[in-house]
């Protein structure tokens, strides 16, 4: 029993990262219908930037995170304004090509600015908590709590604020939203800014828990899209449940079946769910 609980805790930390990546992707896809492939590279940029600020500039971690988030906010605005807005009314293939090009561009910039070496964001969170035989490293605990906090904040923002209502309105029916006076030029900006900040958070978590290196963003965005499909396209609760299911399934698969096939097993679970519910766990039929 302890082993199962331990594996669930193990999976929740990486699941939390998947959730944040998927939340960013699902809001962009839900509102704008864009498969934003560059999201993984952008989140790695956030992780690299935090590492640079902490290691090279000697800033405290909290200050580095705030600067990285602010940079993420601006970067999100720029991505929408300069990359996606010009092709907003064009065919979907145009946005698709822009997304691919943007991925290569951000990866290239990461390489240029931060080099090709693996980096780990240093933290002072070295303590380990033991709850009845289940151990929780301090850093993992903070990652899980931070992910939960961000999920709650995102949900409240979308459900309870006027801007959130406007985002949902645009997602439901763009034309009706225009008729209701929603500024549909501002909404994509807000969505990209929030999405990029969530991605930056995920990048920081990956950088502190594991490592950031070229290529990791690609793997992360693939997992993010898998979560999106598993949870249901455009669904925020779906992204949350899908991310946790994927993370915990990976941990259980590696622990109880074979670590060599943990990714395969996680994707088999995803395909099985889709066979039963093609719209995903929380998607609308």
């Amino acid at each position: 029993m302890i082993e199962i609980l331990q594996q669930i805790i193990n999976g929740m930390a990486i699941g939390g990262v998947y959730v944040l990546i998927a939340l960013g992707l699902t809001t962009v896809f839900g509102i704008l219908g864009i498969a934003h492939f560059a999201h993984g590279s952008v989140s790695m940029f956030g992780g690299y930037l935090t590492f640079f600020l902490v290691s090279a500039q000697g800033l405290p971690l909290a200050a580095a995170i705030v600067i990285a988030l602010a940079t993420g906010f601006v970067l999100g605005l720029l991505i929408e304004l300069l990359a996606y807005r010009p092709v907003r009314n064009a065919s979907h293939i145009n946005a698709f090509i822009v997304a691919l090009g943007l991925t290569m561009m951000v990866e290239g910039l990461n390489l240029e600015f931060f080099g090709h070496e693996q980096v780990v964001i240093p933290t002072d969170f070295d303590r380990v908590f033991n709850l009845g035989g289940v151990t929780i490293p301090e850093l993992r605990l903070y990652v899980i709590l931070a992910a939960a906090l961000l999920i709650a904040a995102m949900t409240l923002f979308v459900e309870k604020t006027k801007t959130g209502q406007a985002i949902r309105a645009v997602a439901e029916n763009r034309d009706a939203a225009i008729l209701m006076g929603v500024n549909v030029n501002t909404i994509p900006l807000v969505v990209f800014a929030i999405s990029t900040m969530l991605g930056v958070c995920a990048g920081i978590m990956v950088g502190a828990l594991f490592a950031i290196a070229p290529g990791i963003g690609e793997g992360l965005v693939i997992k993010g899209f898998a979560v999106l499909i598993l949870g249901g396209l455009g669904s925020i609760p779906g992204a949350v449940i899908g991310g946790l299911v994927l993370g915990i399934t990976e941990a259980l698969a590696a622990g109880f079946l074979s670590s060599a096939y943990k990714d395969v097993i996680a994707f088999v679970v995803m395909i099985t769910v889709l066979l039963v519910r093609p719209q995903g766990l929380m998607g609308k039929a």
Binding site: N10, G11, D126, T135, P137, A211, A254, A260
Partner: protein, 399 residues
């Protein structure tokens, strides 16, 4: 006009004096980027440094000619296809005949499969897959001993420590790591111990808590970690985080700096690395101390423990060329390598077989050592059993 005449005369005189000084291009194929760059980049640096030292000392003397070395290095990313392309570029475009580096077995194996047909000499460094020197390739030599040579010694050492139930966590889909574990297991079994589980991870994996949780439930006496530095460092860190309080043994060859990027010194305390007796400052010879200091000064970072394999290649090549008396006849240079005594300048502690650095298979041997992490450093604790002659005889029996 007078000035022009003088300048011309000086140039002619200088030209006559330097007529016999030539440039010899040597190639490096190694992982300069990607996950294996922790091994490949220090190797490429080591070749560059050795070449500069040789040039500063007057170059390589062949008859009346003196050759200054020029290093052309390509990034093979430890990928077999990239390595094949890099070596083809060195051979076909750059006209290079002597190729060094080769940190990683997959890429090295790919090049080894065709190098016998080329007018070239291949000097392999850190790549530890045994089959590289069992293929009877006359123009290939390797400075690092095969993984199973070290694995057997490690198995004996761990058994002597009294451990009976050992859990293995490793990059077991990589051939030479698997062969290390096989040889380790054979010796452990002979002493009455057993491997209770073999858990695997991919070279890009960084979260090994699921495997470690499984291992923790099986209550081992010790764990053995085999893999690249970075995943291994995560395993050591995550083992502590999961409260696994048993001796941790490894086969990684990482430097202190490389491990400390991932884990704290406290998390590393007590970890053993059972590997060839590679460079660590506390166990180094005079050559090793000088190498460490020069490398650190030149590149601004401490050398990785395995990087001298490539440094030593360069001096072995120099001596072989001088012994063969040619840079054109690669077969003669390859033959001279197999007859070579251990050069004075090498850093590693080689165990000659029949007085020669490389045996009939083109394989060199170092002693094996047990290193332990103590207060932030790898400390050489003791030699491990290393019978180079017996292993060489065994290697000759393998097809």
């Amino acid at each position: 006009m007078k000035l022009l005449t003088m300048t011309t005369a000086l140039a002619l005189a200088g030209g006559a004096a330097l007529a016999a000084e030539k440039t010899l291009d040597i190639g490096v194929s190694d992982a300069l980027t990607g996950g294996a760059a922790v091994y490949g980049l220090p190797q490429a640096n080591a070749v560059q440094m050795a070449a500069e030292e040789i040039n500063a000392a007057g170059g390589i003397t062949v008859g009346d000619d003196t050759y200054m070395l020029n290093v052309i290095a390509y990034d093979d990313k430890a990928n077999p296809t990239e390595a094949s392309n890099a070596v083809r570029k060195l051979l076909d475009r750059d006209g290079v005949r002597f190729i060094l580096g080769f940190c990683c077995s997959g890429a090295t194996g790919a090049v080894a499969s065709f190098i016998a047909n080329e007018d070239a000499v291949m000097l392999v460094g850190n790549a530890a897959e045994r089959s590289i020197t069992t293929r009877e390739i006359p123009n290939l030599v390797r400075t690092r001993p095969p993984a199973d040579y070290t694995g057997a010694a490690a198995g004996t050492f761990v058994a002597e420590k009294g451990h009976k139930r050992v859990a293995v966590l490793g990059a077991l889909d990589v051939g030479f790591y698997a062969s290390y574990v096989d040889a380790f297991e054979k010796e452990l079994n002979a002493a009455g111990g057993e491997i209770i589980t073999r858990e695997a991870f991919g070279l890009r994996d960084r979260d090994m808590t699921p495997q470690l949780t499984k291992i923790r439930e099986q209550d081992p006496d010790a764990i053995l970690v085999v893999g690249y530095v970075e995943p291994a460092a995560f395993i050591y860190r995550q083992a502590v985080e999961l409260g696994i309080d048993v001796p941790r043994y490894g086969f990684t060859s990482g430097s202190e700096e490389q491990f400390l990027r991932v884990a704290t010194s406290e998390q590393m305390e007590g970890v053993w690395d059972l590997r060839p007796t590679e460079l660590t400052l506390l166990s180094a010879s005079e050559n090793g101390i000088a190498y460490h200091a020069n490398y650190t000064e030149k590149f601004g970072i401490a050398p990785s423990p395995s990087s001298p394999y490539a440094y030593d290649q360069t001096y072995a090549l120099k001596d072989a060329i001088e012994a063969a008396g040619t840079v054109e006849d690669t077969a003669a240079v390859a033959a001279a390598l197999r007859e070579l005594p251990v050069p004075d300048e090498v850093v590693m502690q080689y165990l000659p077989v029949d007085g020669k650095m490389f045996d009939v298979n083109g394989q060199a041997y170092t002693s094996n050592g047990a290193f332990q992490w103590q207060s932030g450093n790898w400390v050489f604790v003791q030699d491990l059993p290393s019978d180079a002659a017996a292993y060489s005889a065994f290697l000759s029996t393998i097809d």
